[in-house]
Amino acid sequence: MKQNITEKIISKHCGKKVKAGEVVFADIDWAFVQDGTGPLTMDVIEEMGGRVSSPENRCVFLDHASPSSKYQLSDTHNKLRKYAQKRGMELFDIGEGICHQLMAENYVNPGDLVVGADSHTCTAGAFGAFASGFGSTDIAFAMSTGKLWLKVPSAIKVNLAGKLKFPSMAKDVILKIIGDLGASGATYKTLEFTGEGVGNLSMESRLTICNMVIEAGAKNGIMAPDEKVNRYIKEHRRKEIGFEKFQSDTGVKYEKEINIDLSKIAPQIAVPHGVDNVKEVKEIEKQDIPINQVLIGTCTGGRIEDLRAAAEILKDNRISSKVRMIVVPASRKVFKKANKEGLIDIFVDKGASLVTPGCGPCVGIQGGVLGTDEVCVSTANRNFKGRMGCSESFIYLSSPATAAASAVKGRITNPKEVL
């Protein structure tokens, strides 16, 4: 029986060969919550008797309100800190970074089964792991029993060829795919990225692409692991992992096949208020849309590669006096690395504002909430109405290069213009 990589990983975690469509109970390797979803999980675990299986493989991330902006959130943080300690789980406090970035830096290995109480858990698929987001109750069940029921998804193959040409970035690739598929075009399915193009993408780019598969409704996104994955793990965790390399069988059938030539992808932008409302920047640029804020950050666009791109655009330019640029490194490590590379100096000198590693203003809690009628160009993954804290504001999603270029000109701008 031929299997794709997702089927193989799930098979490994339930001790039998499975095929798409089957409902199984799978053993999980990693389960985590964040400060928005953790409290409900805590309650359910206690309801179920308070047992946490393999606590060293269970994490609590305080990232959405990093740092806290309201006393209620501070109280929630304290509850979660105490609980993590009580149950022996790993706690990452405010300022450490975003859950998905920390999972990537510290934990996920190829072939792992990762579940998280956050929809962007799919990010970890870049390691060749099965990684999917669930709600608090499901994660409580997973944390407690070490298992979770799931339906094995069928897969859509996305064949990547060629190499990205800066200022086109990975974000542009995934925006194009989501624009073509639509917000529910991949519901319940795997988006499996294959082809030589994957090998040509950096680890950061792969994480960005897998991060956004949920925006097309997908259950998981995945790329077969290679030497770059191994090097990333070695660099971040200072160890070589002996792992089984999972690859899809040749000749396995897919629901659909999409072909993308990375070298032909132009800068893209998701127009409010839908992630799948994707157009080419050069088209939207003609509308001469003035902007108020730019966000460089989040689990989609806050990694070292993203900060480098923004700094590259900024270094020989100035931020428009009409624009606030908010920079939120995705983790403490990213912050340190950016500092060592002189990127933080560039951001500070050019007038950008630095925010503590975490989700920043992406979810509308703190760090740059928008005002009435304001327009923001953001490297985040959602632009739903009211997302950044104000129902009467407008969020355009783009790559860090497009966002930085727009900050320079004070309006939505194709990055090719400022290079």
């Binding site: 409900l40 309801e47 309100a65 959130l73 709600g135 608090s136 069940f141 917000a183 839908g274 959602r382």
Partner: protein, 164 residues
């Protein structure tokens, strides 16, 4: 939980995201579900909570509940008094969460259901009686175990009841 539900329809469009259902600006109210529920669906319709009555139905189009995994989204819909959510299709995480917290969710062709219609819904059979248009529709009934979880009030309650 009752198997036969009656109430009025509040009709919404496609892609009603969890941000529209449970806006981020009320994130700090998550620790107080009753307070948070006062803002249910506020960014989809700012007057929803003023207009709705206990037992009413929320009816959407495609991809209801898309976006975040926040379980608070179905939770506050339930807390607000909504009897069930009907939609042409649901986003996967929202659907699972709804079952887990005991909010009935049914997939059917909602094009035939309009704002203000009075419906009688048989949850177990998935039969929708539109009392306003006199039409009877069939929804995809919930798989047995999902129906039992919803009937119990959610997964926590189901596990307690079944003594698992």
């Amino acid at each position: 939980m009752k198997n036969e539900l009656t109430g009025k329809v509040h009709k919404f469009g496609d892609n009603i995201s969890t941000d529209l259902i449970c806006p981020g600006k009320y994130f700090h109210l998550r620790s107080d579900i009753k307070k948070l529920a006062k803002h249910t669906l506020e960014d989809a319709d700012k007057d929803f909570m003023k207009k709705m009555n206990k037992g009413d139905f929320v009816v959407g189009g495609e991809n209801f509940g898309c976006g975040s995994s926040r379980e608070h989204a179905p939770l506050i819909i339930k807390q607000s008094g909504v009897g069930a959510v009907l939609a042409k299709s649901f986003a996967r995480i929202f659907f699972r969460n709804a079952i887990n917290i005991g909010l009935p969710v049914l997939e059917c062709d909602t094009d035939k259901i309009n704002q203000g219609d009075e419906l009688k819904v048989n949850l177990k059979k998935g039969v929708i009686n539109n009392l306003t248009t006199d039409e009877i529709m069939k929804a995809r009934p919930l798989v047995d175990v999902m129906y039992r979880i919803v009937q119990a009030g959610g997964l926590k309650e189901f596990l307690r009841k079944e003594k698992i």
